[in-house]
């Protein structure tokens, strides 16, 4: 019986609710001269090509902090695991990080399904999760509103809603159509479009769906054309955005505006699309910098990155770097006595702004706020802001 009770207490959530009193004075992964943190990225799956940028930038920011003497005298060590974009693998990676490596925090873990499957476990084990690259509102739902989860990725639904609330009257939109990816991303964008249209007294003139990996968008664009829309919302990522625009251009359809969401507004789209994507509108969530930028913060980052890895960083690298800097600032603010609680306190006091952000941000309900957006347009092969961030 004694054994059973101990068993029950051991791993279960009960321990955590029963209390801080049972927890060791020092948090996992925090040593006198070192803090161990972990992350899981898609090193072997469909998104593997984008991971070196994310990993390099995270390690760059940590290396800079370590070179400057660490945080409160502690060096930071990052352990990188593979999640292959598969939740099962992610669960094993996180179990290793939490149980075997005993990390203090997960920083910049990548993927929607992978994070959804692991965040609950992580916060239950008392591990901080900082800046998961996944839909933020869903992550908070999964974590049950835990204090240990800090999200920095803009919510696609609220940002799209915000952008449309301004654009619908400004552009005089009468008939709006949407092309949505099947999956959480498309669902979220749709959840932003619907209330914006309702508020303007409109309904969606046409909707079309596509599957991740589709390369031909003729039927979707034809449906938009048949409905005679004047604005298309494209919930598309890189290649799909280019595909939609190429189809619009092929039809010679000039009097339609195409607006893509935050993921579609990336420098890669402008570069890949060339003439096809000229005139594409995008909702921006962060500041973009080209390789010849004069912004001092961006310049410093790009030079440091290039010196370390011999490569020009993309915007994912910039974001990973920015989030890592924020994480470091939170560690700093937590003070020398680092526990999950003191980190939470510290992170909530921090204010963050750098070369990627539109405005100074802080954590409200553990999510980075305010979520400002800007409307950009591709002109001459580069994104040009059409509005001040709002």
């Amino acid at each position: 019986m004694k054994l059973n009770r101990r068993q029950m207490l051991a791993g279960s959530a009960a321990t955590l609710t029963l209390g801080a009193s049972l927890r060791p004075a020092r948090a996992a992964g925090v040593h006198s001269d070192e803090i161990v943190i972990g992350t899981h990225l898609d090193l072997s799956g469909p998104a593997a090509a984008g991971m070196p940028a994310l990993r390099n930038a995270t390690e760059l920011a940590l290396a800079e902090a370590n070179a400057a003497g660490g945080v409160h005298g502690r060096q930071i060590r990052l352990i990188v695991e593979d999640n292959g974009s598969q939740p099962q693998l992610a669960v094993r990676a996180v179990q290793k990080l939490i149980r075997s490596d005993e990390v203090f925090a997960l920083l910049n873990p990548f993927g929607s399904g992978t994070n959804a499957a692991t965040i609950g476990q992580a916060v239950q084990a008392g591990t901080v999760v900082f800046a998961p690259w996944a839909a933020s509102s869903v992550m908070h739902q999964v974590a049950g509103g835990s204090d240990l989860l800090f999200t920095t990725v803009q919510n696609y639904n609220t940002t799209m809603n915000r952008a449309l609330a301004r654009l619908l009257p400004e552009w005089g939109v009468e008939r709006l159509g949407g092309i949505y990816m099947e999956g959480p991303f498309g669902d979220l964008i749709h959840a932003g479009v619907t209330p914006a249209l309702e508020a303007a007294g409109l309904t969606e003139a046409a909707t079309a769906a596509y599957r991740p990996g589709d390369i031909d968008f003729s039927s979707q664009v034809a449906r938009m054309r048949a409905a005679n829309v004047d604005t298309i919302v494209a919930a598309t990522i890189t290649r799909e955005t280019v595909g939609v625009m190429a189809e619009v251009k092929r039809l010679g359809w000039d009097d339609v505006r195409v607006l893509t969401a935050i993921p579609g507004r990336s420098t890669v789209v402008a570069r890949l699309g060339g003439a096809d994507t000229e005139g594409l509108y995008g909702v921006g969530g962060w500041r973009l910098h080209s390789a010849d930028t004069t912004d001092p913060g961006a310049r410093a980052f790009m030079d440091a990155y290039q010196a370390a890895y011999g490569d020009i960083p993309d915007e994912n690298a910039a974001n990973a770097y920015s989030y890592t800097k924020w994480f470091l600032a939170s560690l700093e603010a937590a003070g020398a006595d680092l526990t999950a609680e003191s980190f939470t306190e510290g992170a909530r006091q921090t204010r963050h702004s750098d070369f990627t952000t539109y405005a100074e941000a802080g954590f409200e309900n553990n999510h980075a706020m305010p979520e400002l957006v800007s409307i950009d347009r591709i002109e001459g092969g580069a994104w040009v802001p059409q509005t001040e961030p709002f």
Binding site: G11, A13, S44, V91, K96, Q121
Partner: protein
């Protein structure tokens, strides 16, 4: 060398005919039961997952290894089992009832696929099962009311008689119990008339039909049984993942299962288990390997795929009988040590293929 001296026909059917087998397998089970008392919780979690994959691989082995029906869509049965179990538990059904029901639902789905699938074989069957898995993935994504759509659904914690089973140790025992139960059930089934019928259909449909085996019913039955076992693994996997999204059950999982069965060795449950252990520990092994490699190589992405492909190619080229075949050879070598003949396992011209994969 050892020669069996049987005094009754039943002795030929014994699962563990020799005392040494009984002692060794007994020790293995004792070890598996004792693991939680000295292993770290991390290792327990890993072992639990390996056991779940063992169950799934045994499920596919029934279909592919014993009945000779290819399936590239077994991840969909894992998914059906997982979602059915999670949904039933959110409806308030207890764990102990929901688990077998989920397996039954998955078996039902297997029967439904089996009925059209028996009309085709070989590559075409692979295509039908692949199409089925794509359909299932879509249905899961769009059936929001039950599955939570692409956003996913939370899996309730498992409980039995008021005791939580979600601790790594308890969950390990749950997985071990089901893995052993499935293994015993399938071992017995495969040496019964039904199992013989499966093997008969695999080796020659015409001969099986001539012997009075209802070929179509056997095939559909194998689909149902295989789907049920795989669905049981799915239900356990739901607890392993904790939060279900459709991307847990993609083609990658199906291919992993096929790899387990092929590398393990067709037509043997031991092969399924060995294959599951190898494939599930491969990512960990690659991660460990990376630590030893020079920095520039270790940072290359795609290492995992390369190693998995190399292992598969290695087995196809050098050990077509899989891990199980290698195991049998090793055992024969040990048992007959000084007298081992190199050509013992060289395949000879045979007209009776049925016994080839025993």
């Amino acid at each position: 060398m050892r020669f069996d001296y049987h005094t009754a026909y039943r002795q030929g059917f014994a699962l563990l005919p020799h005392t040494s087998d009984r002692v060794l397998y007994g020790l293995l089970i004792a070890l598996l039961l004792a693991v939680p008392f000295f292993a770290s919780t991390y290792l327990l979690g890993e072992l639990g997952y390996v056991l779940i994959l063992c169950i799934a691989a045994m499920g596919l082995m029934v279909l592919t290894g014993f009945t000779g029906q290819v399936s590239l869509g077994h991840a969909s049965f894992v998914a059906i089992g997982a979602y059915a179990h999670a949904w039933l538990m959110t409806q308030g059904l207890p764990f102990a009832l929901s688990l077998p029901l989920a397996a039954l639902i998955s078996a039902g789905a297997g029967l439904v696929v089996g009925i059209p699938a028996i009309r085709v074989s070989g590559l075409y069957l692979a295509m039908v099962t692949l199409a089925f898995s794509i359909v299932v993935e879509q249905v899961i994504g769009l059936w929001r009311g039950v599955t939570g759509g692409f956003m996913g659904m939370l899996v309730p914690n498992p409980e039995l008689l008021g005791l939580s089973l979600s601790s790594p140790r308890a969950f390990y025992y749950v997985c071990l119990f089901f893995a052993l139960a499935v293994l015993l059930a399938l071992l017995n089934l495969m040496r019964s008339g039904i199992g013989r019928a499966f093997v008969g259909v695999r080796d020659s449909e015409a001969a099986a039909y001539a012997l009075g085996i209802p070929v179509k019913r056997v095939k559909v039955g194998a689909f149902g049984l295989s789907a049920g076992v795989t669905g049981l693994a799915g239900a356990l996997m739901a607890h392993h993942i904790g939060y279900l999204t459709p991307d847990a059950f993609t083609l990658l999982l199906s291919l992993d299962l096929v790899l387990m069965v092929v590398i393990g060795g067709m037509g043997s449950l031991r092969g399924a288990i060995l294959g599951a252990i190898l494939i599930s520990l491969l990512p960990r092994a690659v991660a460990a390997l990376k630590a030893l490699l020079p920095e520039a190589m270790a940072r290359q992405s795609g290492m995992e795929i390369f190693v998995a492909g190399a292992v598969l190619a290695f087995f196809v080229l050098f050990e077509p009988m899989g891990l199980n075949g290698r195991w049998l050879k090793l055992r024969a070598l040990l048992e007959s040590f000084p007298l081992y003949r190199r050509d013992t396992f060289r395949r000879q011209k045979s007209y009776m293929r049925s016994e080839r994969n025993r």
